[in-house]
C-alpha cells in the first residue's frame, strides 16, 4: 500500500512541477516539430515515398526528443540539490526508480501524442490507428525504463548530458528498429498478423529491460 503511494508521490511531484513550468514539454515539443518540418521540406515527399520514409522520420524525432526529456529525469534533482533529500527518505531505491519512470512516461506520451498529431497534419498520414498506438506505447515503455536507469547514471557522471546519447542509444537501438519495422508495416496497410512478430519482440524487450533496470537501479544511484 505505502509502496504505491510513495511511487505515486514521486511521479506526482515531478508532474506538478513540470505542468507548472512546462520546461521539458515545451522545449522537447519545439524540437520534435522542428524535426518533422525539416524532413517535410527536405524530402517534399509524395504519398508513395511518404509511406516508406514516414516510420523513419517519426522515430528519429521520437528518439531525439525522448533523450531530451529523459535528461531531465534526475539531473534537476541534482541541480536543485534535492537528490540527497530523496535518498534519505525511508523508501527503497526501487520506489524512486518507479516513480521517476512513471513521471517520464507521462511526459513522453504527452509529447508523442502532440508530435503524432503534427505528423498527421503535415504529412497527411493516418497515424492514429490502434496498431500504431500499441507500438508507440510499447516502445515508449521500453525507452523510459532503460532511459530512467541511464539518467540516474548520468547524475553521478561529469559529462552528464552525454551519457544518454552515448551509452543509452546503442542499448535501445533494437527496440527502435522493431518499432520502425512494425510501423512501416502499419503504414503499408498490413494487418495484425504481419506485425505481430515485431510486437512480440517489443514486449520481450520491455520485459527484459524492466526487470534488469529495476534490479540494477539501486546500485547505479548509489555513488
Amino acid at each position: 500500500m505505502s509502496f504505491f503511494s510513495q511511487v505515486l508521490a514521486v511521479a506526482r511531484k515531478d508532474i506538478i512541477s513540470e505542468l507548472r513550468t512546462r520546461e521539458i514539454i515545451s522545449s522537447v515539443l519545439v524540437f520534435a516539430i522542428l524535426v518533422l518540418v525539416i524532413f517535410n521540406f527536405a524530402f517534399e515527399p509524395d504519398q508513395a515515398l511518404l509511406s516508406e520514409i514516414a516510420p523513419g522520420i517519426i522515430w528519429v524525432a521520437f528518439v531525439f526528443s525522448g533523450i531530451l526529456a529523459l535528461n531531465r529525469t534526475f539531473i534537476p534533482e541534482k541541480e536543485e540539490q534535492c537528490l540527497e533529500g530523496l535518498m534519505i527518505c525511508p523508501v527503497d531505491r526501487e520506489t524512486i526508480y518507479l516513480g521517476k519512470a512513471i513521471g517520464s512516461l507521462f511526459f513522453l506520451l504527452m509529447v508523442e501524442a502532440i508530435m503524432l498529431l503534427a505528423f498527421a497534419l503535415l504529412f497527411n498520414v493516418a497515424v492514429f490507428q490502434l496498431e500504431m498506438i500499441v507500438i508507440v506505447l510499447l516502445t515508449s515503455l521500453g525507452f523510459v525504463v532503460v532511459g530512467t536507469l541511464f539518467s540516474a547514471l548520468a547524475v553521478n557522471t561529469r559529462a552528464r548530458e552525454m551519457v544518454l546519447p552515448v551509452m543509452f542509444l546503442p542499448i535501445i537501438t533494437p527496440v527502435i528498429i522493431a518499432a520502425v519495422k512494425a510501423s512501416a508495416l502499419v503504414f503499408a496497410g498490413k494487418s495484425w498478423s504481419d506485425i505481430v512478430n515485431w510486437v512480440i519482440m517489443l514486449v520481450a524487450f520491455d520485459v527484459i529491460f524492466i526487470v534488469v533496470s529495476y534490479i540494477v537501479f539501486p546500485y547505479v544511484i548509489e555513488e
Binding site: S2, S5, Q6, L8, A9, V10, R12, K13, I16, S17, R20, T21, E80, Q81, C82, E84, G85, L86, M87, I88, C89, P90, V91, D92
Partner: protein
C-alpha cells in the same frame, strides 16, 4: 502529537570506530560517539574538522569507509529503512523544490515518510515554523531565513526521534536565529538533537553535551553543565590550536 517518540534503547546514537576517507584524505579517523536518548549535543570544531562529514554519515547520505553506526539500537546499515524513518536532517541544502509551494513540498515529503493525517500534520508544522501564511507560495520566492525554517519543518514532519542539523545558523539574521532556536528548544524536549556549530554560546545554552572535533577525531567531550564560556574557549584553543573570536 505523541510524546513517545523516544525509543527504549539507551543511546540514540552510538558510533564505533567510524572512519571516512576521500581518496587518500582521511576526513574522519575513528570516531566513537555515544549520545543518550533525549539529550542535545553540539559538535564544535574548526573548518575542515569533519563535522559535516560526521553528520552526513549519521544521516546515511554517505557511507562510512570503516566502522558502524547504531541509531536507537539499530544498525544503520542492516536496518536502513527503520533508521531513516527515525532521522530528521537539516543540511546546508534545503532539499526542497523551488517550483513547488511550501505546502506541496511538505506534502511530498509527508507522503514519502508515510505521515499519518498528512494534511493536518503539514498545517501544524507550517504553523510551528511560522510559514502558514506563505503556504501557497513557491519555495523559490522564500528568503534564506524562510527557506531554513521550511527546511526545519521538513525535517520535523515525521516526528523523528533524532534530529541532525549541520550549522543551522548559517545565513540567518538575529530574528531568524531566535526563531530557529526557540523552535529547537521546544522540539528538543521530545527528541535527541545533534547539531554542528561555530557558536560556543549557543552550544552551551542549548545543549547537554559538547564535543570538539579536530582533524577527524573527537578531541574533547564534556557535559555542558561542567563548562562555562571561558573554559570551553580554553579547551577549544588547547585542542584545536586555532584562535577564535
Amino acid at each position: 502529537m505523541s510524546n513517545k517518540i523516544i525509543s527504549a534503547a539507551e543511546y540514540a546514537v552510538e558510533t564505533f570506530d567510524l572512519a571516512k576517507s576521500f581518496g587518500s584524505y582521511r576526513a574522519l579517523r575513528g570516531v566513537n560517539l555515544q549520545v543518550q536518548q533525549g539529550l542535545a549535543l553540539a559538535i564544535l570544531g574548526p573548518n575542515g574538522a569533519g563535522k559535516t562529514t560526521l553528520i552526513k554519515l549519521l544521516s546515511g547520505i554517505m557511507r562510512p569507509s570503516k566502522g558502524r553506526i547504531m541509531i536507537d539500537g539499530l544498525d544503520s546499515r542492516e536496518n536502513s529503512l527503520e533508521v531513516r524513518e527515525r532521522l530528521g536532517l537539516v543540511a546546508h541544502q534545503s532539499y526542497l523544490y523551488s517550483n513547488l509551494s511550501a505546502e506541496e513540498n511538505l506534502d511530498f515529503y509527508a507522503r514519502m515518510y508515510g505521515v499519518p493525517n498528512r494534511q493536518n500534520r503539514v498545517s501544524d508544522v507550517l504553523k510551528l515554523v511560522g510559514l502558514d501564511m506563505r503556504r501557497h507560495d513557491r519555495f523559490s520566492t522564500f528568503s534564506r531565513g524562510m527557506q531554513q525554517r521550511l527546511s526545519l519543518a521538513r525535517a520535523l514532519l515525521h516526528e523523528p526521534s533524532l534530529l541532525l542539523l549541520d550549522e543551522p545558523e548559517t545565513g540567518l539574521d538575529q530574528q531568524g536565529l531566535d526563531a530557529i532556536w526557540s523552535i529547537l528548544k521546544s522540539e528538543g524536549e521530545k527528541r535527541t538533537i545533534i547539531f554542528s556549530s561555530h557558536n560556543f554560546e549557543r552550544a552551551l545554552s542549548m545543549c547537554d553535551g559538547v564535543v570538539i572535533l579536530a582533524h577527524g577525531r573527537i578531541v574533547f567531550q564534556e557535559r555542558a553543565c561542567n563548562l562555562d564560556m571561558q573554559s570551553l574557549r580554553h579547551k577549544y584553543l588547547e585542542y584545536t590550536q586555532t584562535v577564535t573570536l
